[in-house]
Amino acid sequence: MRSALKLALLIALLVFCSLPAYAAETEAKQSTVKTDDFDAAFDDDFDDFDDEFSDSPRPLISDPLEGWNRGVFWVNDKFYFYLAKPIVRVYRVVPRPVRTSVGNFFSNLATPVRAVNALLQLKIKDTGTELGRFLVNTTVGLAGFFDPAKSELGWEKKQEDFGQTLGYYGVGTGWYLVLPVFGPSSVRDGVGLVGDYFVVDPLSYADLTDAEYFGIKSFEYVNSLSLDPDTYEGIKRDALDPYLFIRAAYVQHRLAKINK
């Protein structure tokens, strides 16, 4: 099963390599130069003020697979409400501090993903922060169940992943993609996700059967969902078309992360 997924990574990479030319064009405008200069940062935040009345407003992302994506979105919706949510509802009898600690544990375990990607983006200080956090939280934080690195030392977690690394090197977002279970993604970030999961994630090297591996991943998923303040329900309730809303939010969120 996992080897099948690694094969999927290869295929995705092939598809992916044929796309950057297109994607680079749509994103050229957004990859503005990073600068601490006040005016530049200010203008950057206002970059769309006059742009939005132009006759051909650039779309946030290209979505030629919309029909397919909406299908996966529908399946994910059912999966969420009829399988994941009932489990989460029961699981929430576990006190919140315990669930937070479990979340910390998994997050600590995933340190290599963040550290490697910070390093790949030559963010040396962030790489150091991640490694420092790992050392402190694994020891003083009792195997990562607690986060003294943040609460005592103020070392914030640096959210980095392979999708951001690719973006950092100028790889465009590519088409919008809704992944089963994982939800909103893009061709680039989908490839990044597979890379993080099966190349860097230490759990993929652990000597586990497929059943054990997916069991652990499912537990991690349920735990993180139990900590989420029902974001999806909120979006479904508020948005005219949740698919469009999530698509726009996802793209903006990723762009901001990459430009950080």
Binding site: F42, L240, D241, L244, A256
Partner: protein, 206 residues
């Protein structure tokens, strides 16, 4: 003659200082951050009351936020290119519907915002526009919220809210733009109306 001239100069200088003083103090009282503080404080005061239930809070907060929003600007920017193509009646209709939608969204979030505090991080002003960075902190979450404001007739009003790097206006422009492209403005209005007709959230959450 010379003495008179010196006196004149002094008076002019004094007037100038007075003007400066009054204008800056007036500016400070209604600066961008002060405006945000006003709306946030008034809303938070209601939300953090423990003697009110969800429905009561909802009723009290309703209408509080509207006057701090630049409704024209936010509606125009949300429809973007479709605004220019719409008739004045359609523009008015959209603004009217959209304000209600925004208020509903805000009211639906009341439960999430109860019991939290807001920290003001920074204020950047350039000409008639300003950005105020804040962070909402509660037991469960820490959400960066950025307010983009525009000054018209001396009043600072919000024209966009950026939550965790996601701009509300950009999001709605993208979503509504797709709907208008496939179903036209009337299609969008129909969807907005049916959304507004849905029963309000129960406020029951974890």
């Amino acid at each position: 003659m010379k003495e008179r001239f010196v006196l004149m100069k002094r008076v002019v200088f004094l007037l100038f200082v007075c003007c400066l003083f009054f204008s800056t103090s007036a500016w400070a009282a209604s600066g961008p951050t002060a405006e945000i503080e006003k709306v946030v404080d008034s809303v938070m005061k209601v939300l953090n009351r423990t003697d009110l239930d969800y429905a009561a809070k909802r009723e009290k907060v309703s209408g509080m936020v509207q006057k701090f929003i630049n409704i024209d600007s936010i509606s125009q920017r949300t429809l973007g290119v479709h605004w220019k193509r719409a008739s004045p009646e359609q523009q008015d209709r959209f603004s009217w519907l959209f304000v209600q939608i925004l208020e509903n969204i805000y009211l639906n979030r009341i439960e999430d915002y109860s019991g939290g505090t807001v920290d003001y991080l920074s204020e950047r002003v350039k000409g008639d526009k300003a950005i105020v960075d804040t962070v909402f902190v509660s037991e469960k979450v820490e959400i960066p919220v950025q307010y983009k404001m525009v000054q018209q007739q001396g009043v600072w009003q919000i024209y966009d809210v950026v939550i965790e790097n996601v701009s509300l206006v950009r999001n709605y422009r993208s979503s509504y733009g797709s709907i208008v492209s496939s179903e036209g403005l009337e299609g969008l209005f129909a969807k907005l109306e049916s959304k507004l007709a849905e029963p309000a959230g129960s406020g029951k959450k974890e």
